[in-house]
């Protein structure tokens, strides 16, 4: 029973982080039709910046805020000065499908290299703001710690803020309209290019939060967030790639699945589990677990 409860809670906190990464991929995909592999690179940059802030000020929360801002800024820069010129140049032919993949993978490599050049390749820790020691239940000590609880709370707050932003504000309406139908949005007076850059910024911020939240329970290195990218992408596909709700559900399903398999079967099965989920979803329900008949949803 302890094992079950702790698997459930750990799975949720892991899944919460996957959800954020997944959301950041979905936001970019549905507005730009690009799977942004560079998201892991953007997140690694913002997380190293956070590491630097923690080192100098000792404040995790200041670092958290700085990471969000840095992630948003970086997302906006990648869209405005990298993707937009790319799409202007590469406008037609078979290259259109492959160019963004190559470009974002290349950018991932560049960002990792830059980080390695500045901070070196050795593992760096970011201290958690609350205890990493598990709660005790009777005589048993759960692996679930206050930090895991904090992660769940933070991600829940982020999700609420994002859903209010998207559903209740004019900005959110512009973001959704631009993603669903750029032409109708444009004819309605939405400045679609600027809105898309803003979407990349929000995605960058979500990825940055995932990066800094994932680090205290492990270490930071130039490629330490690559795994998060893989799981975030798997979660996004499980959720149908178009839907933010799907991204969250996909993240939680994956987090729980991976944790249960590693606790009850074997830790070495973490990666295969994720891919088995992915393949099952692609075979059984390729439009994702939350999508209904319609392919796109807010």
């Amino acid at each position: 029973m302890y094992k079950f409860i702790s698997s459930l809670l750990i799975g949720l906190s892991l899944g919460a982080i996957y959800s954020l990464m997944s959301i950041s991929l979905v936001l970019v995909w549905r507005s730009t039709r690009v799977v942004n592999f560079a998201q892991a690179g953007q997140a690694i940059v913002s997380t190293y910046i956070a590491y630097e802030v923690v080192n100098r000020t000792g404040s995790f929360w200041l670092a958290f805020v700085v990471a969000i801002l840095a992630g948003a800024l970086l997302g906006a820069i990648v869209d405005r000065y990298f993707m937009r010129p790319l799409f202007r140049r590469v406008a037609s032919g078979p290259i259109v499908a492959i160019a963004p993949v190559v470009a974002t993978l290349g950018l991932l490599g560049v960002l990792r290299a830059v980080v390695g050049f500045i901070w070196g390749v050795e593992l760096k820790p970011i201290a958690a703001p609350v205890s990493l020691d598990g709660y005790s239940l009777g005589s048993e000590v759960l692996p679930f710690a206050p930090y895991n609880a904090l992660v769940i709370v933070i991600v829940a707050i982020v999700l609420i803020v994002l859903s209010l932003l998207f559903q209740k504000t004019n900005l959110g309406l512009s973001l959704r309209a631009s993603a669903y139908s750029p032409e109708i949005a444009r004819l309605s007076g939405v400045r679609v290019n600027e809105i898309r850059t803003l979407g990349w910024a929000i995605a960058g911020a979500a990825g940055a939060i995932a990066g800094i939240l994932a680090t205290p329970t492990s270490y930071l290195s130039p490629n330490s967030l690559d795994i998060l990218l893989v799981f975030g992408f798997a979660a996004a596909v499980i959720g149908g790639l178009e839907s933010m709700v799907g991204a969250v559900v996909g993240g939680l399903v994956l987090g729980l699945g991976v944790t249960f398999v590693s606790n009850y079967v074997s830790t070495s099965l973490i990666f295969p589990t994720a891919f088995v989920f992915l393949i099952i979803i692609l075979l059984v329900r390729p439009s994702g677990i939350v999508s209904g008949k319609r392919s796109r949803r807010a």
Binding site: L173, A177, L187, S188, G189, V190, R294, R296
Partner: protein, 236 residues
Amino acid sequence: MSLVVTNLSVDHGAIRAISGVSFTVESGKIAAVIGSNGAGKTTLLRTLSGLKSASHGSAQWNEHDLFSVKPEFNVRHGIAHVGEGKSVIAELSVEENLHLGAIWRKDKKEMKSTQLDVIELFPILGERIKQRADTLSGGERQMLAIGRALMSKPQLLLLDEPSLGLAPLVVEQIFQTIKSLRDQMALTVVLVEQNALGALEIADTGIALNLGKVVVQGSAQSLLNDPAVRAAYLGY
């Protein structure tokens, strides 16, 4: 006050889609642009709203040069374009589609009152206000598309094939609404239609396009009486 299009040419790559087209639409009038598939009607509207760029020529709405800005700014100059094929966003609710039409406007009170006007014009939209647009019928979607355009309080309305794929009764209703927009709100309308008869019957002037060129233009009545137009576009 008028829309003046002068010597307009538009290219799709190597193909000339519109060639030396000139016409004027006086303020508060409906101009019907008729022609078969591939005549360049849709291209003409897309160029006027700025979605497509012109190769030659100019278009002025009063003092405003339509080709000087992007479409998202043309709408701020009172020019609204309803695209071909029920141009609504299926994933958004009726209300969100309407709000989208006024999203650039600062005055929220004015937006609310415009929304009431639109719902008075199309009561069915009021009944369906919270529904997703993809639950609407074809006619309701076209009403929503026009309603969204009206939310920007336009002076010049560019309508692309509003009758496309609709039942005859609904087509009649849409045409009567367009007529009332002119009569009651003094809107200027460029109405692109394959349904030449229906369009010319409510229009003040008519322009027949063929292969990107103006074949004949004049008062709508004169086009209706023109034997060549009747044979080519009206089918009697």
